[in-house]
Amino acid sequence: MLSEHSKQLLAERLTHYPPNEKASAVIYACYLAQADSPTHSITQQAAREIAEVLEMDPTEVQGVIGFYSLLFEEPMGKYVIHFCNDLPCALRGADRFYEFVRARLGIEDGETTPDGLFTIEHAMCIGACHRAPCMQVNLEFQEFLTEEKFDRIIELLRAGEPLRANMADAEPLSAAAPL
């Protein structure tokens, strides 16, 4: 079910498109459904609801969810980590770093930690090649990663602390440094 807040946001978003082109808002609606879900996943019920509001066939909405990498049908962790190990990042050590990331979290690519906190997936190029190694945590950039910095990020997330988005500082974090 979409929350009342999401329904309102969706209604506002529909003003961006011609009145008979409501389907244009389908990706936006799916993001809202994901944001409403504690597991970032779009249930069949939510997909049916989106289809009704946007005057689409439920199958079309399911098709869209299946097509795009950032829309999830299956339950995900609270924090979805997309780690880039595409060619430019790999040339700067990202493959080795991803081994460290998996070992640290104790899970393999595509898996979720047993506590439901973290899902890790390798990403296709996310546009941060010049700041490798890089990743996104729930789509917010974390760049110039070092092992210490990665540990600090995980530690803060486990403690329920907010991360600063786009933390592009070059220096590794000291224990005391705020993110």
Partner: protein, 440 residues
Amino acid sequence: MVKHILLQNRDIPNIDRLDVYEQHGGWETWRKAVTEMQPQAIADTVKASGLRGRGGAGFPTGVKWGFLPKGVFPRYMVVNADESEPGTFKDREIMEGNPHLFLEGTALSTYAIQSNAAYIYVRGEYYDVIRCLEQAIADAKARGYLGQNLFGTSYSLEIYVHSGAGAYICGEETALLNSLEGQLGQPRLKPPFPAAVGLYGKPTIINNVETLANVQPIIANGADWYRQWGTERSPGIKIFCLSGNIKRPGNYELPLATTFRELIEVHGGGTLDGAPIKAILPAGASAPIMAATDQVLDTPMDYESVPSVGSQLGSASMIILSQNDDVPLAAAKMVRFFRHESCGKCTPCREGTYWAQKVLDRIVAGQGTPEDITLVENIANQMVGRCFCPLGEFSTSPMLFTIKHFRDEFLAQTASTRPRRAWREVVPLRIEPTLATKER
């Protein structure tokens, strides 16, 4: 030191804020255009400047605008901000660091094609960028630069941000349109071309972010001013993205026809590991790899010269490999990318990338045979000219040209049973490379 024209954020702190942008003359060109200029005059200036599309194809922007059928309305401007090519991160810095420059260029271009609505299609991964653009649009609207009856005229303009959700194929313009309409992001058959039948079946122009960012300085300073850089056929400035095995990766705004050597050695500081350069990928994973010979290094980076040495300028996302880097491993990485991103619409791309990746993975795992090299070439040759869209065709580049130029490496790999190992350990960067100084 000449100041940056597009990456003004390098010279002017907080230029992403509307008040700072206004202090530096921001949005004044727009006011003047709407109140004093005819749309055709803007289109004529852009055409005279020789500006070419910065998304990769390099098609002259003014000529493209001229393809719109006369007298058919409404029409749409769609901005391709689906920057997803491996090694490309220029549009991100334009939009994050200089959102108002980009929006003013978009507004001028939308006015020039006599449209009242522009959609900026941003890749879903650029969530931070989307928030930044939405804020900039809200600010510009509050100050009367966007909205209804601008500056007391009858002209109205809305600019909307539309998020994608992770699909490289949506950088292909007709797939982008399908995605924007709420369908699967798969390409459409052309013709009809989007200029005639585009978004919602209406005449539509699709331009890249960097292309439209250039329109603001061109209208403000004139076509002749813009032509002081570059060549007759490739005029102006370009942002070159430098990544991979390089000391100072980042965006470099330079005149077109700057040589590879200047970009890599002077601005980029040479390779990260200090070894000689082995190869250059001038346009991410999509254009043929080039062996870094002296002839290639001294080639000017423009739309005519790069094809003369066997590749394409494309979006100018340069990925650098040194003598220590492994070409078969790079080929496997790139084909993996295309296999993952194939939209599945046409058989040559869907099946070809799948099988080529399997064979390349076998080779780099030390289990390949010399026949496997021929097999990859055969797969690619069955794809060339048969894919539904250009992106399928692009996927054959990392199959064919890595083998063509570095066959010995593939042969050495198939002669060995040792798997290729992942690349070097991380070398932490101590400087913020996007702040590296640059001279023009």
